[in-house]
């Protein structure tokens, strides 16, 4: 068992355990902060998959952007929500959650079943890419690669997403603007 493997197991354990905690936690604010941990652990997993740039983006956008946004949302929606939400009236193991649990469990079984049936490491295209050396190595500098790709092959999505973000900005700003413009 290599160091990478051990790291992988540790990271995945942290990620899954913290995610599980988010799922069962009754305390809202705590669960948001635990979600930080999940995201960091996932970033670690991305690094293990040799996607440094994605990992960095994950931390910058998710942890720096999304979670902060979520916290802001809490603040903006006023203290009383927080108070209300601090004491959720439903426990996770309540009977009303049973259907959801059942469905998710069934889905999980299906997914695991099909995943295990698939020999992911020996798929045709993976063998091909190993043969043609079309895989990312530990030493390779992928950031430059990503930069070139963004400007060539993925130019269209890159440009489109800028418009998309602009639109989302306009819309979100409109929605959260105070009404008393008069």
């Amino acid at each position: 068992m290599s160091a990478a493997n051990i790291l992988f197991y540790i990271m995945s354990f942290i990620a899954l355990a913290s995610a599980g905690y988010v799922a069962v936690s009754k305390n809202l604010v705590r669960s948001v902060f635990i979600f930080f941990v999940t995201l960091f652990a996932l970033a670690g997993l991305y690094v293990l998959a040799l996607a440094d740039f994605v990992a960095v983006t994950q931390i910058v956008v998710y942890v720096g952007g999304i979670l902060v946004l979520i916290l802001f949302a809490f603040m903006l929606s006023g203290r009383e929500t927080l108070n209300v939400l601090q004491h959720p009236d439903r426990s996770v193991w309540k009977i009303t959650n049973l259907p959801a649990l059942l469905i998710v469990a069934l889905l999980f079984i299906v997914l695991i079943n099909v995943i295990l049936k698939t020999d992911a490491d020996h798929l045709g295209w993976i063998s091909d890419s190993i043969k043609t050396k079309n895989y990312i190595t530990n030493s390779g500098d992928m950031t430059g690669n990503i930069g070139v790709n963004l400007m060539t092959r993925y130019l269209l999505p890159f440009e489109i997403i800028s418009i998309l973000l602009m639109m989302a900005l306009v819309g979100a700003a409109h929605l959260s603007r105070k009404e008393s413009v008069e």
């Binding site: 099909v114 045709g124 993976i126 997403i161 418009i163 998309l164 413009v181």
Partner: protein, 503 residues
């Protein structure tokens, strides 16, 4: 330094070569910026300027779409753009024409609805969002790469969430937005997971000429069908077929009426183009046996038709009726998709265009009645037809078209779909196609039950309490436009060739 450098020049020339085929979208992007800047410069009073800019720009884009027809004819009818991100072909141009045309009508309509007009924060942001969403719709129509598909769907979805929640001072609008965004975000997450599985199995995102289809054929069928269904969840969310339809009635009811008109037509039409694009490589690969799309679509179509139409019978709110009926129409359109023939696709475009005409018209009239009398439920419609005969007659004509009775465009649409399905059935005697035909005919009859209810209330029931009626300037325009739509629906019923010729 980089192993991509050798291919750089090829990539760049590919990108530059794609630009001429990307004219309408470039103009759209420019238009988006123009509207945005207008909004910023003119501030609070910019709504009508934005509207003029948007409509004018869309006319130019419509013209650019038409130019693409000629451009395509020089290039064997199908071009791949931007490293196979997009595929431009004749049907895509037809879809774009439909989208842009109705977008113009809708943008005019947005400014005429009284409630939307009274929105305190103004409408200029709305136009910005709509223009961006039209760009997304264009991409949806042409996308052949899972990345561009996902991006386009997200773009349209985001715009739709914003539009649904646009009247932020109204509780219903906010609620509709919340339901829409939660449902949509989950659907898109599920779809993304499906895409990630497809990518895992094939290492390719492009389903037209990449390794995707062959890779899937080689992989384990169980996981392939799981992944494909997960992807179809995302597409189904836009199409709103069963069981991805749950958001439809609530959102259609809660959203501002013009937005309902938008949601029920444009994204749906574009999603059909996307679905066709997505299915094509699978259908025409003879080795593809993992997943029977025809069976899948037929079952979905049948269930969707039945559920949508049957549930609509028991509704009281006019927008809910139309919401369920639009689910029913989705089922009917799936029938045309299940043919997998050129005839089926052309029948589909005709049907969708006609549906858009009728649905926008009907919602305009709903807006009109809501404006003049505040009526939103069937009970409120009692006797309104006698008070407003022109609006009532237009309503009836458009409903006839939605039902598919002759002589109306809707009848021709249904006839085209039926005949295209039958043509396929005649060749392969597929039981499911027959069932589709039967269900289509039966649900058409059922649809009559609820469509006929509206004229019944409009003309044949009497209003118990006198209510205050008021006429408005914008109401007049609404009436004029919907009358024009009604006339078009009738004309297309008599001369369907004109529309078929364009599409």
């Amino acid at each position: 330094m980089n192993d991509l450098l050798p291919s750089l020049s090829v990539q760049l020339s590919n990108t530059i070569g794609s630009l001429p085929y990307f004219n309408p979208e470039i103009y759209l992007a420019v238009l988006f910026l123009l509207v945005l800047v207008t909004d910023l410069i003119f501030g609070r009073n910019s709504a009508w300027i934005c509207r003029i800019v948007a409509v004018g720009g869309l006319f130019i884009i419509l013209f650019k779409d038409l130019q693409q027809i000629g451009l395509l004819q020089q290039n064997s009818g199908s071009v791949f753009l931007f490293s196979n991100m997009l595929r431009l072909y004749r049907t895509a141009v037809s879809f774009k024409l439909i989208i842009d045309f109705f977008a113009i009508i809708l943008i005019i309509y947005f400014g005429l609805d009284k409630r939307l007009k009274n929105h305190a924060k103004g409408l200029s942001d709305l136009y910005t969002i709509v223009i961006a969403s039209i760009l997304g719709l264009h991409l949806m129509i042409m996308a052949v790469d899972l990345l561009s598909v996902y991006l386009a769907i997200e773009m349209v979805s985001l715009a739709s969430y914003l539009l649904a929640a646009y009247r932020s001072e109204n509780g219903f609008s906010a609620e509709a937005g919340l339901k829409y965004v939660l449902f949509g975000a989950v659907a898109s997450a599920v779809m993304l997971y499906g895409i990630s599985l497809l990518y895992s199995l094939t290492g390719s995102l492009n389903y037209f000429d990449g390794n995707l289809v062959p890779g899937l054929i080689a992989a384990n069928p169980a996981i392939v069908s799981v992944a494909i269904i997960l992807v179809l969840v995302g597409i189904g969310f836009k199409l709103s077929f069963i069981p991805m339809h749950f958001w439809v009635p609530d959102v259609y009811q809660g959203a501002p009426t013009p937005v309902t008109a938008y949601l029920s037509t444009l994204p749906k039409i574009a999603a059909f183009a996307l679905l066709i694009n997505f299915l094509t490589p699978f259908i025409f690969n003879v080795k593809w046996i993992v997943f029977d799309f025809r069976l899948f679509l037929s079952v979905l179509g049948i269930i969707t038709m039945i559920a949508g139409n049957f549930a609509a019978v028991w509704q009281k709110n006019i927008k809910r009726i139309l919401a369920y009926s639009s689910i029913g129409h989705t089922g009917f359109s799936l029938m045309a998709v299940a043919t997998f023939t050129g005839q089926g696709v052309s029948a589909l475009t005709f049907y969708l265009a006609v549906y858009a005409f009728a649905n926008i018209g009907v919602l305009m009239l709903a807006s009109y009645f809501a404006d003049v009398s505040g009526a939103e439920d069937l009970d409120g419609y009692k006797g309104l037809g006698l008070k407003y005969p022109l609006a009532g007659v237009c309503f009836v004509i458009i409903l006839i078209s939605l039902t598919g009775l002759p002589v109306s465009a809707g009848f021709n649409g249904k006839l085209l779909v039926f005949s295209s399905v039958y043509a396929v059935y005649e060749q392969n005697h597929n039981l499911w196609l027959l069932l589709l035909l039967v269900t289509g005919a039966l649900t058409t009859v059922v649809s009559l039950f609820y469509y006929i209810k509206i004229p019944l209330y409009l003309f044949l029931k009497k209003q118990e309490a006198e209510i205050q009626f008021e006429g408005t300037e914008s109401g007049k325009w609404l009436l004029i436009i919907s009358a024009i739509l009604a006339v078009i629906v009738l004309l297309l019923g008599v001369f369907p060739n004109y529309l078929v010729g364009i599409l």
